[in-house]
Subunit: 472 residues, 2 copies
């Protein structure tokens, strides 16, 4: 009978099966609840209002800064106001770097452009230049292989990493992933071949005058050289001169500074589960941001979405079986101090961490979620996402969780990310343009509703999601 079944199925064109199967009955049972959550979010949601407060109280929230401290206190109060339970600060140590007052890139040669300033931002972690800057010739490369081939050719020069993000990729995240190595490792790689500084094309597909900062890393045993990102128009100008055969000399001045690690906090609040309070579903974002713009999409808005998600549930009287734990992580941008501390301090609890979702891809219109869930758990996640029909957020794709929840993978915790539309993200990311006027109230509230719905159903289903296998 079995082989016959296979044979007959093979004869049926796949297109004959037109009906999309619905979710399993135990998930289907939440359809109206999800609808109620989304309606509440769209009509009376407060994620945007929260973000308005946050970016006013603490527009710049770089780890170790007064802004970050203000954000911690704001988040604590916001959770208390929303009636979250067990609101607390949990200590962590964070990277502490300051931009300083001066950052300047000035053309020295060709002489007809001498004095022209190009927009730059020092990269987070960079050392300063000598007091009046350094002046050197520029050599352009597209990648580290090309740099190595230069050999002596880079010695004494400013190495200019100019490989753009691949704009043909339909999601901008892989495009970022394919280019950001230049920013993170450019200084170390430049120094290995005798370069005196690294200048990196900003990580955006947009052509404009806004430089985009971000983290960089020095390597033990390799000389530290200063490094900055130049706007894409600035990068095009330099590249254009070099292409014409001009000798380009630039003066780079930075007075940024690294300090010893500083104490800070993750901010945590809960909605304690009504039946299985020891089982935990984590949702959160990172409270720190870069020190330019307002970090409205990265990651202020998404942080507010996760606090708001719990407020929505409370407002609707929805207390799930399991505990929802909202975590505002500190220091995602340049050290993951908060994520590491949370994992270390809660390692014993990891078998009870059912799911951990981070919202750290902007607060744009929804596209779905991403998770590393095992097949059985993935089936449940996808069933839940079917309840999101019409929002644009109905898909759950395979992929990692946000950086802050990633350490938990080592204990088999299923992690995930909220996935909004990615087209606009890198127009703003880590730049002066990441401000609240770039956030749509409906988009941020709809996302909050989806996150609330996802974590509520996961935390409330009678059967818990089966843990991922613990990696060897």
């Amino acid at each position: 009978m079995k082989s016959l079944l296979v044979a007959t199925l093979a004869l049926v064109p796949l297109t004959a099966v037109q009906e999309t199967p619905g979710p399993a009955p135990e998930v289907e049972a939440y359809r109206q609840t999800v609808r109620d959550i989304l309606s509440e979010a769209l009509v009376r949601g407060e994620a945007y209002a929260k973000l308005s407060e946050l970016v006013e109280v603490a527009p710049h929230r770089l780890s170790g800064s007064p802004g970050a401290a203000a954000a911690v206190e704001w988040a604590r109060q916001a959770m208390l106001e929303d009636g979250l339970e067990n609101v607390r600060l949990e200590p962590c140590m964070v990277t502490h770097w300051e931009r300083g007052e001066t950052e300047r890139l000035r053309v020295v040669a060709p002489p007809e452009l001498a004095g022209l300033e190009l927009p730059i931002l020092a990269l987070g972690g960079s050392i300063a230049t000598p007091e009046h800057g350094l002046i050197a010739e520029v050599v352009e490369v597209q990648d580290f292989d090309e740099l190595k081939e230069l050999g002596e050719g880079a010695k004494g020069k400013i190495v200019f990493f100019n490989r753009p993000m691949d704009a043909t990729l339909l999601s901008t995240f892989p495009a970022y992933g394919g280019a950001v190595g230049q920013r993170v490792n450019g200084a170390a790689e430049a120094a290995r071949v005798g370069g005196v500084a690294a200048l990196v094309r900003s990580m955006t597909t947009r052509l404009d005058d806004f430089p985009h900062t971000g983290a960089m890393r020095y390597v033990d045993g390799v000389k530290k050289v200063p490094t900055a990102a130049v706007s894409t128009r600035g990068a095009e100008l330099i590249a254009g001169l070099l292409e014409k055969g001009e000798t380009v000399k630039l003066q780079l001045e930075l007075d940024c500074k690294n300090f010893p690690p500083a104490p800070s906090f993750n901010v945590i609040g809960e909605l304690v589960g009504r039946e299985k309070p020891e089982e935990i579903v984590v949702l959160g974002g990172h409270l720190d941001s870069w020190d330019v713009g307002q970090g409205a999409h990265d990651d202020g808005g998404p942080c507010c979405q996760t606090i708001e998600a719990v407020r929505l549930l409370k407002k609707l009287g929805l207390r799930p079986r399991r505990t929802l734990r909202v975590i505002m992580f500190m220091n995602e941008e340049n050290g993951l101090g908060g994520a590491k501390a949370y994992y270390a301090d809660h390692k014993d609890e990891m078998p009870n961490h059912v799911f951990a979702v981070e919202s750290d891809s902007g607060a744009f219109t929804p596209r779905g979620f991403q998770s590393n869930a095992n097949p059985e758990a993935m089936k449940v996640l996808r069933d839940i996402a079917m309840l999101f029909e019409g929002t644009g957020g109905e898909r759950v794709v395979h992929g990692g969780g946000g950086a802050d929840v990633s350490p938990m993978k080592a204990s088999g915790v299923i992690v995930g990310s909220y996935l909004p539309d990615s087209q606009r993200y890198f127009d703003l990311h880590h730049s002066e343009r990441d401000t609240i006027d770039q956030v749509s109230p409906r988009e941020i509230e709809l996302g909050a509703g989806l996150i609330a719905s996802l974590v509520y159903v996961i935390a409330d289903l009678e059967e818990r999601l089966p843990h991922n296998p613990v990696p060897e």
Copy 2:
């Protein structure tokens, strides 16, 4: 065997069929071509650059205005520059209304707010008030039924239509559809019960100080009274006073004016088909806009997407079997003069109009297309949309075409619309906020690539889409 097959199929859970069927082979053959079009659009697309020109040359393009005339000439030149063929102006008659210099809504009572001005925009088509305005008490209603029940209660008053768009609807278009009747017919309905003016809550789910204009219609035999839209915050203020039992008196001043119909043009260009030039696939948008903001999303950006779509194809050397005809329609906002003229002048050609798609829902990130195609043609459209995997624009839903292509339905032409994400549209629509800084370069170019891909495959497939039945 047949009954056994049915029986065995019934035993197989639908979830067992995991594989999504791919497109038919003749459509699958275009996969790489579509990828090439999208890549070209994302890397070297010029829709955004076109829009930058258009909103500089003619930010305000209301039918019958000098701006509209400038836009016509701009579009003609843009098509010529892009190498479109048979570029021409086709005459039409359009509505001509001017806003005038004065539009003001001032609180007269309660006395403690006297003198406060609330942000308004006259509705397109409204008559003026008497020279120094009219002063009257306000009566609020949610709909026309409530207005009728008021009976004498509305006599001599300003009727205030304050039903908000239903924010719980996941797409904002039905939410607009459910509220816009107040704007279109509010003045006539108010006049029927003796109202002296109609004031309408702006058509947006956002709470802010930007009024949104739009078309209204008088009814033969019913007195004409002036009408305007008030910002949502203004609406909330009035409603709040009324709810407290205050008597609200307002002074409304408008000096807008209707003029006789004026001559104008649709702008048309083609990419003539290589095998079946007489068979036509139409794509387009409407070149006219309201006289506030820049009409960047409505409908400047989408217009530029359709001109750009053909440029992309030419750039890639892709000349389809059938003719692509780009139409920049005039007067969509307040009369459809261009659409009516096109249909009347090309009625004989309609059996050869294979498909007509309009882009008039903004230039946001893609969600797909909508069409009234018959089932056989819909299958082809959906097969084509499968090639858009990863763009977010993979869906084709049942629905009408844009307003400008709708007259063609009477001849059985299959019409359609490009559907971008709708969340932000009514934040901007018909207001000062509809400016180019609200347009994302990647989003507009990606949409242009999708439109180019859709019309190219439709125009190039060996077999033409089967015509819809001609309605009785």
